[in-house]
């Protein structure tokens, strides 16, 4: 039976309704899939920002709290911002939520992906300062287990690494290298993970009960199973702060240098990165405390996992494709967007 004849057997009204037709796909490539992951996280963040907690004074107090311990030059604008939000909570929070919602939609919509990614970098940098106090990295209490160096800076990093362009010249060995090149991508990875290792070894984090207290503090308001998990994890590291910090720091250093290793070894370290990020997300961050209500974002865990995936060695290194008319005009994403 020919394909055309087979088609004729379908009820006409169903063709009208398009039943079944919606599922047709134009399969996105790997980088596009990662952009969609980033878009999904932005959409989640935008929706979380609409929670009732964010329209209350508690939100401005939370913002003001991020100034604590930071130098004056960093803290003063945060305090000013928190005061402004306190006085115009409904208006400003609605704007914040809508911007983040639009960032997610914009990245997912192919024609606006560049605009949305660029805007997300600017927005993320603003939130990193005014909303997260630079991820507390200038204080003595930053820890990889509680989200340092600030989840939102990883959004910006991902937007840069997933920018829809390809560098001409040598083929990209992994997705993150396509836009900025392998040396720059590796350097960014190294800086991020070495900084996490450094934070893990700060005196405040290697104190005997530091990690225990951090994890145990996450169980409040969480569902029973997650609270039990946190209690169990906290008891494992009770009075083991120094040893736990050293183990974590060693793992983070191995992850940091992993992208410089041959592909098979690099894959092993990336798996380690994903596992560490998942453990941090579940145990240390309690899914960003979303299940307890009042979370502004899912914290750094899923972003670190997405970041690790962008460094996964590609089977065949990607070279800058030639620009092809239809796809380049429509997509503005991967196909045919080689940088000249």
């Amino acid at each position: 039976m020919s394909e055309i004849a087979a088609a004729g057997a379908r009820p006409a009204w169903r063709t009208k309704l398009g039943a079944g037709a919606e599922a047709a796909t134009s399969a996105p490539d790997l980088r596009r899939r990662m952009q969609l992951g980033l878009a999904g996280i932005w959409l989640l963040v935008g929706l979380l920002q609409y929670q009732s907690f964010m329209f209350s004074k508690a939100f401005s107090q939370m913002l003001a709290g991020t100034a604590s311990g930071s130098p004056g030059v960093v803290a003063s604008p945060i305090t000013w911002d928190a005061t402004l939000v306190e006085h115009h909570a409904v208006l400003l929070n609605t704007i914040f939520a809508t911007i983040q919602l639009l960032l997610g939609i914009g990245i997912a919509w192919r024609r606006t992906v560049r605009l949305a990614l660029a805007a997300s970098v600017a927005w993320a940098l603003g939130v990193w300062w005014f909303g997260e106090g630079l991820g507390m990295v200038l204080t003595s209490s930053a820890s990889p287990v509680n989200g340092a160096p600030g989840a939102v800076i990883i959004y910006a990093l991902l937007a840069v690494l997933l920018w829809p362009a390809d560098r001409a010249g040598r083929p990209a060995p992994f997705t993150a290298a396509r836009a900025v090149g392998a040396p720059v991508a590796r350097a960014l990875w190294l800086v991020l993970w070495l900084s996490l290792a450094y934070f893990a070894l700060l005196p405040a984090n290697r104190a005997p009960q530091a990690l225990n207290g951090m994890i145990a503090g996450m169980e409040s308001g969480e569902p029973g199973w997650l609270a039990a998990l946190d209690r169990g994890a906290a008891s494992l590291v009770a009075h083991q702060g120094l040893a736990a910090s050293i183990v974590l720091a060693v793992a983070l250093v191995i992850i940091a240098i992993g992208v410089f290793l041959p592909p098979q070894a690099a894959k092993a370290t990336l798996v380690l990165a994903i596992v560490v990020a998942a453990v941090i997300w579940v145990v240390g961050e309690a899914f960003g405390t979303i299940l307890a209500g009042g979370a502004t974002d899912p914290n750094s865990g899923p972003l670190l996992i997405l970041l690790a995936l962008t460094y996964w060695p590609l089977r065949a290194a990607v070279t800058a494709p030639a620009r092809t008319g239809a796809s380049a005009a429509l997509a503005g994403t991967d196909e045919g967007t080689a940088a000249s």
Binding site: G18, E22, T25, A331
Partner: protein
């Protein structure tokens, strides 16, 4: 406390979705095709019912049926879409369990059942069930099993993002795209742009499209395409509200709104 006007905006979006779905059903007249085929208008019926229910959950003045009635309705829809997903999986393989065109609707229906069953009214509203929610959401009830709400929200966001990508994609002709897709007199859908990966008829991509059409065919053959009637002629799919992208847009709006409702009630 969430300002009521924000909830009203989401409720208004749901009313638009309900109206569009109703118009699609009226325009397509599936009931003229007999009971068995009429049952396949499931997606628009589901959109219509979910949009009405969600509008009532978001704004008290838009409340229609009792919570128990909605629970039963969405339980039936969930069972129906579960059946459709299993059938899709039997025809198209295991991937249809997540990627088939009925899978998102199964999640939507399941999320609706969950919201109606798991809702707990705030103490000040007594034990009025969802009426506490309709009283309205800015009075904020919560959902039991918040982990499940989070999982539902993540999946709904995932499907919405995927739909947005496909709707704006270069290979979306005839399905997601805003562009015109032509329908041959025999009923075959003819795609003027090559399938992703350049597959011709018989290529994997085309086979997948054909199966999603319930056995119909998609052709990239220029010779066949040239026989198609011009856009706008009788038999085209680009008939305003009946175009497939309209249904997909409704699904996106519903998915985002549903995720919003789940997250604010965690």
């Amino acid at each position: 406390m969430i300002p009521a006007w924000i909830l009203d905006i989401f409720a208004a979006v749901m009313l638009v979705v309900a109206a569009v779905s109703a118009v699609r059903l009226v325009a397509a007249r599936p009931w003229r095709q007999g009971a068995r085929r009429a049952a396949l208008a499931d997606i628009d019926v589901a959109h219509l019912l979910m949009a009405i229910a969600m509008a009532g959950m978001l704004a008290a003045s838009l409340r229609t049926l009792p919570n128990g009635a909605w629970s039963v309705i969405f339980a039936v829809l969930t069972a129906w879409f579960a059946y459709r997903v299993v059938r899709d999986a039997q025809v198209s393989g295991v991937r249809a369990l997540a990627g088939g065109h009925c899978a998102p609707h199964l999640i939507h229906a399941g999320a609706m059942v969950y919201m109606f069953v798991a809702f707990t009214a705030p103490a000040t509203h007594g034990s009025g069930g969802m009426s506490g929610m309709a009283g309205g959401m800015s009075g904020m009830g919560t959902l039991e099993l918040p982990s499940l709400a989070f999982v539902f929200a993540l999946v709904l966001i995932g499907y919405s993002i995927w739909d947005l990508d496909q709707l704006s994609g270069p290979g979306a002709s005839g399905h997601y795209s805003l562009a015109v897709a032509r329908v041959a007199p025999s009923g075959a859908v003819l795609v003027g742009v090559g399938a992703p990966g350049g597959g011709g008829p018989g290529a994997p991509g085309v086979s997948a499209l054909a199966s999603d059409y319930g056995g119909s065919a998609v052709s990239t053959d220029p010779a066949v395409t040239s026989q198609a009637p011009p856009a706008g002629a009788p038999g085209t799919m680009s008939r305003g509200v009946l175009a497939p992208w309209v249904a997909t847009s409704c699904r996106i709006a519903m998915g985002v709104t549903m995720a919003f409702m789940l997250l604010i009630m965690v």
